[in-house]
């Protein structure tokens, strides 16, 4: 009963706030509430058990459930949404027309929490759509022409992905015995489905697009680059994890499917390096962070892929843990990017140092959550080559993060008296603390390992040497980096502009043909021809 109430409140409170926005007066007063809207979700993550919540009748019902991956991600996502909400409220103070931002924010929040909790195919699809539309609206809040373009690219990609997903979900539903629409039943039925391969391909492509898998990652730098800081924080942290979580839930990780797992891992690892390579050619902190997200999501997908290849059900837990860590750190670093840009002089180091700890944590800095995350996924990546690649990726990540820190420092306010307002600095500090502490809590609470194991000297050393190599490379980058070619932000989509011109020309041609078809004699001829074709189709088949 308590669980039901908690789950209802988790999704219902943001949704109710969203509906309340219909009234303009409420909408204008909404910003202070943004920080509180995710609190019910936090409570649910902490106190709800795994009893499902079912709304509807026997023929069709929406169901929600808090499974282990969902709980981990919901917990950290709620923290991030709350902190980012406080940050956003500070930015919106005194702003006229905050309505659009607030509506998109609440819509995205509702979708995000809903997707983390959804237990049936239709509810999942619906909430994912809410999430995508809301998030594209958040990108739009940048208000510039680039924001419009980025938002269009984001929404376009998201909807293409949803088209793949819809096809995949229909296949899932058709293959599930007795018409159950529960994700759990659907995933269990995949290995025996007559359309197993197609289903998996559709799901992986659809979710992979949303997770930013190379080569469909280009929306990330575009979107995060133009979105307001808090929006970029929740999008790179929480929103993108929805698709990772969906991969974890939909793929039958307890059955070894190396034909799918290994390619997935390979694509993921490729993305992990690709993000680094392009990222180090960038100079805006937000863009560097975006490419880091490309890299990290690639690594996460590689973990899931290896789990699928090996039929390792435990991969779900460690992948979720890795995702949870990335969620906290990436969210925190985006906030840091915003805070640093408004800070100068002596204050700066107070803001930069925590950022450095977190950033290097992604590379696996010992004693940080990042080190734990790397340690947790290690068993899944125990294949010889993959293990080596994982280590190389840690080196690359360190390199990229050091580059980020340099860009971050360079982006600081030139005014030495500038200090970020408390309303933004405090959320950032809160996220810093959460990113340090929460992974340790989760690590032991979920039974992935114990603290004492994680603190063994051998393990600490194993985490340290990639850092040192990465640091060495970073020195090299700073010395010779100017010789690197510069990739445009959003690499592929920018490079593919000429292709668009061809598409436009095709559109012209099509419009011309359509115009001809609408001429009276042509339409009349079409009519007669159709009579003959239809009659013929019946005649020849009927004989």
């Amino acid at each position: 009963m308590t669980t039901s109430l908690l789950l209802i409140a988790a999704v219902g409170v943001p949704f109710a706030l969203l509906l309340a926005c219909i009234v303009p007066a409420i909408r204008e007063r909404m910003p202070p509430l943004l920080a509180l809207a995710p609190i019910p979700a936090l409570a649910a993550a902490l106190f709800a058990d795994d009893t499902p919540l079912v709304l509807g009748n026997a023929q069709y019902a929406l169901s929600f459930v808090l499974d282990e991956p969902g709980r981990m991600l919901l917990l950290v996502a709620a923290i991030l949404w709350s902190a980012a909400g406080a940050y956003a409220a500070t930015g919106l103070r005194g702003a006229t027309h905050a309505g659009g931002f607030v509506v998109c924010w609440l819509m995205t929040l509702t979708g995000c929490i809903g997707v983390f909790l959804a237990a049936d195919l239709v509810g999942f699809y619906f909430l994912l759509a809410v999430l995508s539309v809301g998030a594209s609206g958040l990108v739009l809040q940048g208000g510039t022409a680039e924001a419009l373009r980025a938002s269009a690219v984001y929404l376009g990609l998201a909807l293409i992905a949803e088209a793949f997903l819809l096809a995949g979900l229909v296949l899932l539903a058709l293959a599930t015995p007795d018409g159950s629409l529960l994700i759990r039943d659907a995933a269990a039925a995949i290995p025996t489905s007559p359309w197993r391969d197609l289903t998996l391909v559709l799901l992986i492509v659809g979710l992979g697009m949303k997770a930013g898998l190379v080569p469909l990652h280009f929306w990330m730098p575009l979107a995060y680059g133009v979105a307001p800081i808090p929006a970029a924080a929740v999008m790179s942290g929480a929103v993108v994890k929805a698709s990772a979580l969906a991969l974890i839930r939909f793929l039958p990780l307890d059955v070894a499917l190396p034909d799918f797992g290994l390619p997935l891992a390979a694509i993921g690892l490729f993305g992990a390096f690709y993000g680094v390579v392009i990222g180090i050619t960038q100079s805006r902190p937000k863009i560097v962070l975006a490419y880091s997200s490309v890299s990290q999501m690639g690594f996460l997908v590689a973990v899931i892929g290896m789990g699928l290849a090996a039929g390792d059900a435990g991969a779900a837990r460690v992948a979720s843990f890795y995702a949870a860590h990335h969620l906290l750190v990436k969210g925190a670093l985006f906030l840091a990017a915003g805070v640093v840009a408004t800070t100068g002089g002596r204050q700066l180091w107070l803001m930069l140092l925590p950022a450095a700890i977190l950033a290097l944590g992604i590379g696996g800095l010992p004693l940080t959550g990042g080190a734990l995350a790397k340690l947790a996924v290690k068993p899944v990546l125990e294949d010889g080559l993959v293990e080596l690649l994982a280590a190389l990726s840690a080196i690359g990540t360190t390199l990229l993060m050091l580059h980020f820190l340099r860009c971050l420092a360079a982006s600081a306010s030139p005014d030495s008296a500038a200090a970020a307002p408390w309303g933004t600095a405090l959320p950032w500090m809160l996220m810093f603390v959460a990113a340090l502490v929460v992974p340790w809590m989760l690590y032991s609470a979920t039974g992935i390992g114990t603290w004492s194991d994680a603190l063994q000297p051998g393990i600490l050393w194993a985490a340290s040497w990639p850092l040192l190599i990465g640091a060495g490379l970073a020195l090299g980058l700073w010395r010779w980096g100017r010789y690197l070619p510069r990739a445009p932000e959003g690499d592929i989509v920018v490079v593919s502009q000429p292709a668009m011109r061809v598409v436009v020309r095709w559109g012209d041609a099509l419009e011309g043909v359509e115009g001809v078809l609408r001429r009276w004699p042509v339409a009349g001829l079409s009519l007669l021809m159709l009579i003959l074709i239809l009659g013929g189709a019946m005649f020849f088949d009927g004989h």
Binding site: R519, W520, P521, G524
Partner: protein, 109 residues
Amino acid sequence: MNTPTLFGLCAVALVGVGLYGLIVNPQPLRKILAFNLIGSGVFLLFGAIARRGAAVGMGGDPVPQALLITGIVVAFSATALAVALVLRLFDEAGSVTLAPDAPAEPPDA
């Protein structure tokens, strides 16, 4: 070859002639005329079928014959509406072409 079949074939030929005229003749009035030709072909076919159904002392099946009267009146109404449209178009535009041109934007309200 008996009378109903002969007129049935005649009806079919009328439909063919009308179809050709409806497609190729650009003048709307001639299209209306062609429509009437096709229509009369269809009616004639129905009449031939009615005649084939002559029985119990009736010269033809009365149901199609009754429907024919309805059909002729409906075709006349259609013709009247179409002619009125053509005439109004002529009054407004000074021409009666049907060629689709890029629809101009209506003047700002």
